[in-house]
Symmetry: C2
Subunit: 153 residues, 2 copies
DNA sequence: TATTGTTATACTCTATAACTATA
DNA sequence: TATAGTTATAGAGTATAACAATA
């Protein structure tokens, strides 16, 4: 009974997060390369892909989806809005909040961003099993939701 | 026979990479928070953790390990060297190349960085199975090694 | 000629804190 | 009082191209 639980995070400590950083950097560069014709940065691709389903989101919601902070999104959205790809509208229900949405010009860009992600995934994961993919999602979700605690040294 | 292969990258396209970005951002912030007493950025933590085993590495090797570019590492290593945490020495075997190593002051910092990664992993992954973790590593490695091709739109 | 790493430049990402407006 | 988001500022990350030294 001990091995299943104690081995879960075993192997060299840090290997999970080091591999995560490498993969995140590598794939983001792949996306920027694939979409180089669109002149988008990695974070812009990430944000557009999160909006590709056509649903409006508050800035804070988009920050959660992209893994960034609202502060970061302000300038990123300024840039996308300046290019006419997204629009910000006051939320009538809570007028402190903005609803971010794709413009007609932004929709194909967002779909292209999401499609590029799908293409990278297909190219990379063709030989893997559904069980491996399910394990991946379980681990990544657990990491994302991990306690964000400060631990004094 | 179709499902195992066709489903590997199925589910919403982009879900794998979007989740990867969220997890990478979230965990990096956890590490910075945990190690806030050490005044290290996320990339510095990542680089130090890669050096924590005590082995010297060329700048290019460290770039591969961290998922960054040599250009990025130059200023990062300048900063760590300025704080006396790492040293760069000419490689006698290839005098174009630098060997990067931890100083005595850098070693405990690097060990702390790696230990923080291990702590986040343990906190997050306690309930997961070895099979899930193995699936995670398979997916992340496949993503990292994916073809880095440019695909015209 | 090709490669390693740095330098220079410009832009993007990020964190912090202060601020506005709204709840 | 608390929250959503922006603004301001400063520092860190990134890509590109040009460069030096070495292979």
């Amino acid at each position: 009974m001990s091995s299943a639980e104690t081995d879960a995070a075993a192997a060299p400590p840090g290997a999970v997060l080091l591999a995560l950083q490498r993969a995140a950097h590598a794939t983001l560069r792949m996306l920027v390369t694939r979409l180089s014709g669109l002149e988008l940065t990695g974070s812009e691709i990430n944000a557009l892909a999160c909006l590709a389903d056509g649903r409006e989101r508050a800035v804070g919601e988009l920050a959660v989806l992209t893994g960034t902070r609202p502060t970061t999104l302000t300038s990123l959205l300024d840039r996308l809005a300046g290019r006419g790809l997204v629009a910000r509208q006051l939320d009538p229900g809570d007028r402190r909040s903005f609803r971010v949405s794709l413009t007609p010009a932004g929709q194909p860009m967002a779909r292209a961003a999401l499609a590029a992600m799908g293409a990278v995934e297909q190219a990379a994961l063709a030989g893997l099993t559904p069980a491996e993919l399910a394990g991946y999602h379980a681990v990544v979700q657990a990491l994302t939701r991990a306690p964000h605690q400060e631990v004094p040294l």
